[in-house]
């Protein structure tokens, strides 16, 4: 089983990831001429990519450590059933509860039920991409419970009814002026674009609400099976607040987030923050094991771990298992020349960037996301950046192959490639096609030897740059003459 959804009929096939936008080409077109967006990208993601390289060089052998991290993840995935049960047993041993959710709706339902049972009216959330995946905030709101994002970037997005465009830096697409205007409206205060002042506004507002909150929802960076612990890495401190202050703590995780033991944790901690943001560690790394112990003064009275599948078992089953190694660091986004140009919104999915280009069609089906596997030059920067060595270019090519097999690739394209292969298969067809190209191009070129307008279907080239016409004589001819001139009977 390839583990890839190709059927689009709705029976038994439920869309797993929310899709926010559906016209990739139109969004790419708009974004690629958005100079402001690209400047914001260079100021943020490009810098972070450089930071990643600099801080990784502090490690004795970053490349070998990435290989080890990838192997640990692969091992865990290969034995995920064992490790899930181990995690469950150890969480329960420490007074926590574990709930298994087959999909988004079940996960949301479980959380709403917990909130209702505990009479929780206000839910504070620290950053969780999985909660974006399930659209938890909508489910809570519908149930009459108030969700409040506490990560500064996520809070800004919540107030503005917008979506994150990066795995780690949610508001990378907004500048200080945008945020100033949002807060001016929301807090009914004077406009400022001073980052410190804006952050202070959010701090004061959110701080009071932490005190009122009944329930805290956190994501999970790593779940340690042997100790029944969940790890939350954050810089702002809101992650710590969410797991410390409210009476109830709900941790929501994709089932792939496990690692076997506490000893494995430093492998990932030493790679995560470096890969994500060029830091040696995040300011806070919380290792939470169950709820408060008897006699402790603070800490949650109840701890619930929601483990979610939502299509991951299908990916686990197939050739794309290694895509589940992902630790959501965002390094591939930061390194990607396409992401740098078009930003996260263009991908239209809760998971953008190179890993998103893989996961979105894997979760939702290739039919729904024709462009994502192709909107890549296969440069390999993502693979080089990935701390767990997911061979993203390899998987993108495999998805393209799956599209061909499923006849999602337009028949015109398939025909062209068949013809092209035939053309290159035999010496005489190769030479013939070369001659044809040369004649054709030289008809189109200007006096300096440049073609300004190629005909369809290759006119995409000349929309953006000129095309050099083929040389008057190809290399074979030139080389042949060179050799003939070299013969003893000839002269230089």
């Amino acid at each position: 089983m390839s583990g890839v959804l190709t059927e689009s009929k709705s029976s038994g096939t439920r869309v797993s990831l929310p899709v926010f936008r559906s016209d990739f080409m139109a969004d790419a077109h708009e974004a690629s001429t958005d100079i402001r967006l690209q400047a914001a990208m260079d100021n943020s993601v490009t810098k972070r990519d450089m930071g990643r390289k600099t801080t990784l060089s502090e490690l004795p052998d970053a490349n070998a450590l990435r290989e080890l991290a990838g192997q640990i993840k692969r091992h865990t995935l290969d034995h995920l059933d064992y490790y899930l049960e181990l995690l469950e047993a150890n969480v329960k041993r420490q007074g926590g509860q574990v709930h298994f959710a087959a999909d988004s709706q079940q996960a949301n339902k479980l959380i709403v039920e917990i909130a209702k049972r505990t009479s929780s009216k206000l839910v504070v959330k620290s950053k969780s991409m999985v909660s974006e995946e399930t659209e938890l905030n909508d489910a809570l709101t519908e149930a009459g419970i108030e969700p409040l994002e506490t990560d500064l970037g996520e809070f800004i997005l919540q107030v503005d009814h917008d979506h994150p465009t990066h795995l780690v830096m949610p508001v990378v697409h907004k500048n200080a002026g945008d945020i100033g205007r949002i807060f001016e409206k929301y807090f009914k205060t004077d406009y400022t674009d001073n980052a410190q002042v804006l952050a202070e506004m959010a701090r004061v507002h959110l701080r009071n609400r932490f005190n009122e909150a009944d329930l805290g929802v956190s994501g999970v960076n790593f779940a340690v099976a042997e100790t029944g612990s969940i790890v939350v890495c954050c810089n702002e401190g809101n992650g710590r607040m969410c797991v410390s202050r409210p009476r109830i703590h709900v941790a929501l995780m994709g089932m792939e987030k496990l690692i076997p033991a506490l000893d494995d944790l430093p492998v990932f901690l030493k790679l995560l923050a470096r890969s994500a943001s060029g830091q040696s560690l995040t300011q806070y790394t919380s290792i939470v094991s169950g709820c408060r112990r008897p006699g402790e003064i603070d800490g949650p009275e109840e701890f619930h771990l929601i483990v979610m599948d939502n299509g991951r078992s299908r990916i686990l089953a197939g050739e794309y298992r290694d895509t589940l190694r992902c630790i959501r660091c965002g390094a591939c986004l930061n390194s990607c020349p396409i992401y740098r140009k078009v930003g996260g919104r263009t991908y239209g999915s809760v998971y953008p960037g190179p890993i998103g280009a893989l996961l979105t069609p894997l979760f939702n089906g290739l039919e729904k996301h024709k462009h994502l596997p192709h909107a890549s030059s296969l440069c390999g920067a993502c693979f080089e950046a990935c701390p767990v060595k997911i061979d993203i270019p390899k998987f993108l090519i495999m998805l393209r192959g799956d599209q061909v097999k499923a006849h999602i690739t337009p028949w015109v394209e398939r025909a062209i490639f068949k013809l092209w292969t035939v053309g290159l298969r035999f010496g005489w067809t190769y030479r013939f096609s070369q001659i044809a190209q040369r004649i054709g191009m030289r008809l189109l070129m200007d006096k300096q030897g440049w073609v300004k307008n190629l005909p369809p279907p290759v006119n995409g080239w000349t929309k953006q740059r000129d095309f050099p016409a083929p040389a008057k004589e190809n290399f074979r001819r030139v080389y042949k003459r060179y050799r003939q001139n070299q013969k003893p009977s000839g002269r230089h």
Binding site: S32, T46, G460, F475
Partner: protein
Amino acid sequence: MRVSLFIACLTDLFAPDVGMAVVTSLEYFGCKVDFPTAQTCCGQPAFNNGFPADARTLAIRMLDVFQDADYVVTPSGSCCAMIRAHYPELFHDDPKRYDRAVDLAARSYEYVEFLTKILKVDLSNLSLPEDEKFTYHYTCHLRTLGASGASAIALLKQLGGASYTEMEKADQCCGFGGTFAIKYTDISGAMVRDKVQCGAATGADTMIVNDGGCAMNISGGCHRQGVPMKVRHISQIIAAAIEHSAQKKVVGV
């Protein structure tokens, strides 16, 4: 040392002088160069677009064409990466061809790799006809080859008259990506414009690249934007230095 040249289809058609530069420079360094005329294409475009069976058809031809070559050298980084990284896996279910593919991969080198790793050339007694300012674009496929741009830059710096300035985002893809440049024209356009800007900002006369696709893409971009910077394959620079030094000898300088 006997070297068989794999010209790569783009270079064959669009940049024959790059091919000749590779030949003459390798000969200067003491290699005997041959060119198996039966060669066509490594199959990379088919492979990249999800047509592995078609890529395999072309790969089989390549295995035959270069069966007897001691070394296969190509000026195209991406073609070399195709052979080294992907040929073995194309034949995963065909043990005989798999072995041949592994064998071919072990004999195949990208031009700069060959100069630095096998020939271990020293260019410090060569110089360019005129002082020239260079910058360097790091061809993506060097990643697959496990190479860095440092080797090419080091070679360049050895040449008399050559000065080098690193450009920003030197290792960011130029936007070629084969059919990507045609299918995803807007994104590709933004990428090549960025590359041209970064190159122009260094004030360099010439940008060096290691791949025919990059060269076509970036030079096309420079020309469209009216940026006078030249785009050259490093073999052309080395060949020019070799020719200049040979002339100096003739004149008795």
